[in-house]
Amino acid sequence: MVSETQDALVEIDALTFQRDDRLIYDGMTGSIPRGRITAVVGPSGTGKTTLLRLIGGQLKPTRGEVRYAGEAVHRLSRDALFRLRARMGMLFQSGALFTELSVFENVAFPLRVHTDLDEELIRFVVLMKLEAVGLRGAAELMPQALSGGMQRRVALARAIALDPEMIMYDEPFVGQDPIGLGMLLSLIKELNQALGLTSIVVSHDLKETLSIADHVFMIANQRLAFVGSPAAMEASDDPLVQQFLSGGRDGPVAFHYPGPRFQDQIR
């Protein structure tokens, strides 16, 4: 545990975040180790995606801070923040491809903005990235011509175009067929091992995510409910963790959104 903290790429320090009147995190502390796959899991609405947005500096903490490689993200200037983001890749839930650009141009986009590579080299890199996600043949298509799962794979190719040091995956497995899912799983694993990437995977597909993760971050009730390896998570006797793993309806995490008693409301 100590060595992990020392080699943390992302450090979350007493993070409190509030959206409108709702408290999402209340003094959460933790760290994401470099070069590993960290799974961020937890019940819906606990702010897993919010965590990714805080790391990427798209949201600012209410109190506390998120440090990336030692730098407090929300204190960076606008220019420094954009430079930092060029070192991260993010795969959005929807894919978020640019609809007016072809698949090829979508993947080429980060290269064109951030590098001075000539056209031939860009072509080479883009085709290599598309080959990695199995969509080299679709290079000339427009994103709308692809299925949701394929769009996500193009988005992954775009996210790794600049060979970032960290990739954040926001629900990468949603809407994937079993083949696409298996491919994505092995791709995340391979990228992590071959390139020494740090990966953060936010997902509800617990079994799949835990099968590739080295490290689990479980968020529930505004705090970190569990940190450790997938094996330790399964062995944990914390009722919260157990409820989450077994999918139990009753337990520390309420199934019902807070409200008046049913009997009182229908009277």
């Binding site: 990427g56 798209q58 606008r78 220019d79 954009f82 430079r83 930092l84 983001r85 060029a86 991260m88 890749g89 993010m90 959005f92 839930q93 929807s94 978020a96 491809l97 640019f98 609809t99 986009f109 980060p110 903005v113 951030h114 988005a155 775009r158």
Partner: protein, 260 residues
């Protein structure tokens, strides 16, 4: 009563906050760092999208407004036997008022709403967020080119509107109603001053261009990324931009022609 005062206060504060956000957005879009070559190319593409593609509606409206002006003007002028002044009346109404104002209103409906919806959809589909995460400032990449394109296009469209309106007026006045062509054009030329009439009209349309496009891009950038949010923002663009144009027009006219 206290409730009413509190609501008024909260409403005013909200409005001021929106104005502040809009100003910050515009400042960051205009004054941020960017690659000049790339911005120029993006702006040119947007001039095509908001300007060139608005040409047809501007041409048709300009033609008809010129024709109607001539028709209405003639029926009044002929009573005083001064139908030769028709050219002057048509040209002055168009250059000073109708050209800039009607073009801006049409532009708000045609291009402004499209800008809001486009930027809004980019926001709803996380394209703006993904630009940010790629390390590209969407304000520079998406907002600035669209803003500049609107500011460039509207004055040009307005000049085209005035020109085609004069032709429409001539068509009705000379060809249909039989006003003498020589006096129509000569009167128009002698009565229209380049500085006072044409340039003041152009200045108006530059102001309208800035305001209408600013409202449109801000509404798109600031909207709530849902279907209803996009619909609301598009409506707001057209309503706010139209009201702003009409209000500003009164103010500018008072300054330019009202000896204020």
């Amino acid at each position: 009563m206290m409730d009413w005062v509190a609501r008024l206060g909260r409403g005013s504060l909200d409005r001021i906050a929106v104005l502040g956000r809009a100003t910050v957005m515009l400042a960051q879009a205009i004054f941020g760092r960017s690659q000049v070559g790339v911005s120029w190319r993006l702006t040119l593409a947007q001039v095509h999208a908001v300007g060139v593609l608005s040409l047809s509606i501007i041409l048709v409206s300009g033609l008809f407004i010129g024709m109607v002006l001539a028709l209405q003007g003639y029926t009044i002028l002929v009573d005083y036997g001064s139908e030769q002044a028709l050219g002057q009346m048509v040209a002055l109404s168009l250059a000073r008022e109708l050209g800039p104002v009607v073009t801006a209103l049409l532009f708000a409906g045609r291009a402004g709403s499209a800008l809001t919806a486009e930027i809004g959809l980019m926001k709803a589909t996380e394209q703006l967020a993904s630009l940010e995460m790629i390390g590209v400032d969407p304000l520079r990449r998406v907002i600035a080119p669209r803003f500049w394109a609107g500011c460039i296009s509207l004055p040009i469209l307005s000049i085209i509107f005035v020109a085609i309106g004069c032709l429409g007026g001539a068509l009705v006045g000379i060809v249909w109603l039989g006003v003498d062509a020589g006096s129509f054009w000569a009167n128009m030329q002698s009565a229209t001053d380049f500085g006072a009439d044409i340039m003041n009209g152009v200045i108006k349309s530059i102001v309208f261009g800035v305001v209408v496009t600013w409202i449109a891009v801000f509404q798109g950038y600031d909207l709530e990324p849902t279907a209803a949010g996009i619909a609301r923002a598009t409506t707001k663009t057209v309503v706010y931009a139209s009201l702003a144009v009409l209000g500003l027009d009164f103010f500018l006219t008072a300054v330019m022609f009202g000896e204020l």
